[in-house]
Amino acid sequence: MFELYANALVNGILLGGVFALLAFGMNLIFGVVKIIHLAYGQCVMLGMYLVYTLVVQLKIPIILACLISLPVMGIVGVVLQWLVINPLLKAKANPLTQLLALAGLTIVVENLAQVTWGADLRGLNIQLPLISVGDIYLRTSNLIAFLGALITLGGLYLFLNRTYLGLAIRSIAQDVDSARLMGINPEKIYYITMAVGGLLTGLIAAFFSPIYAVHPHFGGSFTMMAFIIVVLGGIGNLLGGFIGAFVIGIVTSVSAVLTSTEIADIITLVIFIAVILVRPQGLLGIRISR
């Protein structure tokens, strides 16, 4: 019995790594562009359909397909900024209008996917071997996703801390007017942030493709998951999102073993609500009083 829980714990941690990447993207976009990207999971879904099309229909090697999905999804991010988000910012739309626009985008993307790829599950159908460490079995695909996510997060940390562009992104998140006075063009930084966020959806799609089969409503649950993690960690707080991702990952997979997958979602949400009742600002958030 013990091995079962240990297995669940380890797989929860592995899953947490990819969730951390998902939450990072959403957090970054919220922190910089000040928009809740409700279609973030749907973008991951688009990336997975792209990988599926390249691998299954065009017979391109999976590694190459994954590499192609990165820049393509980065461009999708830029296009979203241009077509959806920039007009909202220019019109100084209120937060409700912004939410409605992004919610509308999820409907567009999901239906576009359904028209293009149909409602069936689309998977790569590849079987990677299991790795056994003592009594614990790890799925290779989960392990690759976890390590890849950690390396990416490390790279993003260096990018945000060591480069002028990263510094500009963090400055804009803290004080837009002050950043403008330093010579930083906010509009350019918004585009770059959406491009980075888009690249991340492409990368997450690459990690998810061997693990999950994709369907037109696949993205919704991941948008929800990312949003819960971001709020749990403290919205806009990157470290909080990182911790929140592992909390949610571990709670979900351990309670799935203890009960069932459906009950696990309930347990996760109950824990989430309990945390928010005690700390409305999230685990590491700062309470803003106006």
Binding site: Y164, L167, A168, R170, S171, Q174, D175, D177, S178, A179, R180, L181, M182, G183, I184, N185
Partner: protein, 234 residues
Amino acid sequence: MLEVKNIDVFYGEFQALFDVSLKISEGETVITVGPNGAGKSTLLKTISGLLRPRSGSITFFGQRIDGLPAHKIVELGIAHVPEGGRLFPQLTVWENLKVGSYLKKSRQDFPLAVKEIYQLFPVLDERKRQLADTLSGGERQMLAIARCLMSKPKLILLDEPSSGLAPRVVSRVFEFVHQIKSQGYAILMVEQNVRKALQLSDRAYLMESGRMVKEGPKQSFLEDPYIKKVYIGL
């Protein structure tokens, strides 16, 4: 070097500046005094491009700059230190200085420039790894001014550098402004602490209810009975 000509500035329907004009020559220190709400900060924000005038013109070395976005105006050499410093609270002292050198032309000189700043303010060197949020009021103001120097400006706009500081700290901030002035930067300062600021300046303007009501060399301001009574309190 800077010429503001007959500008009108609005916040929505509310007019904040009426037909305001002002001139600054190279190396000159100019102070604008006036009560709260006279439009002094609005004037600085309009020059640095955070606000746009509805009419009138602003030229810098003969080039029209009204209508340019703020990040283009910094590039031309106008640095604006807003009221309260507006540091990036979650960046360290060093990172704040580094963002100050964001402009392409100032990046290369950053290591040297930051050394000079640390020599001028050893306390910033001691606290370079601390978040700006953890600094005292005086240190924040010093860092805000130091940060604007990183962009190698020709003209510095200082908005109420002494606001909210203890009297002893105020003297240190003014001492620093004096040091900058002696290095040849042109300065346009807005200040409530009229006497101290006037002593630093070459020329002054008086602004009331969004209009320029008086302009002259510092001596004429120090001796003006109205200004003495209302703003200096002697």
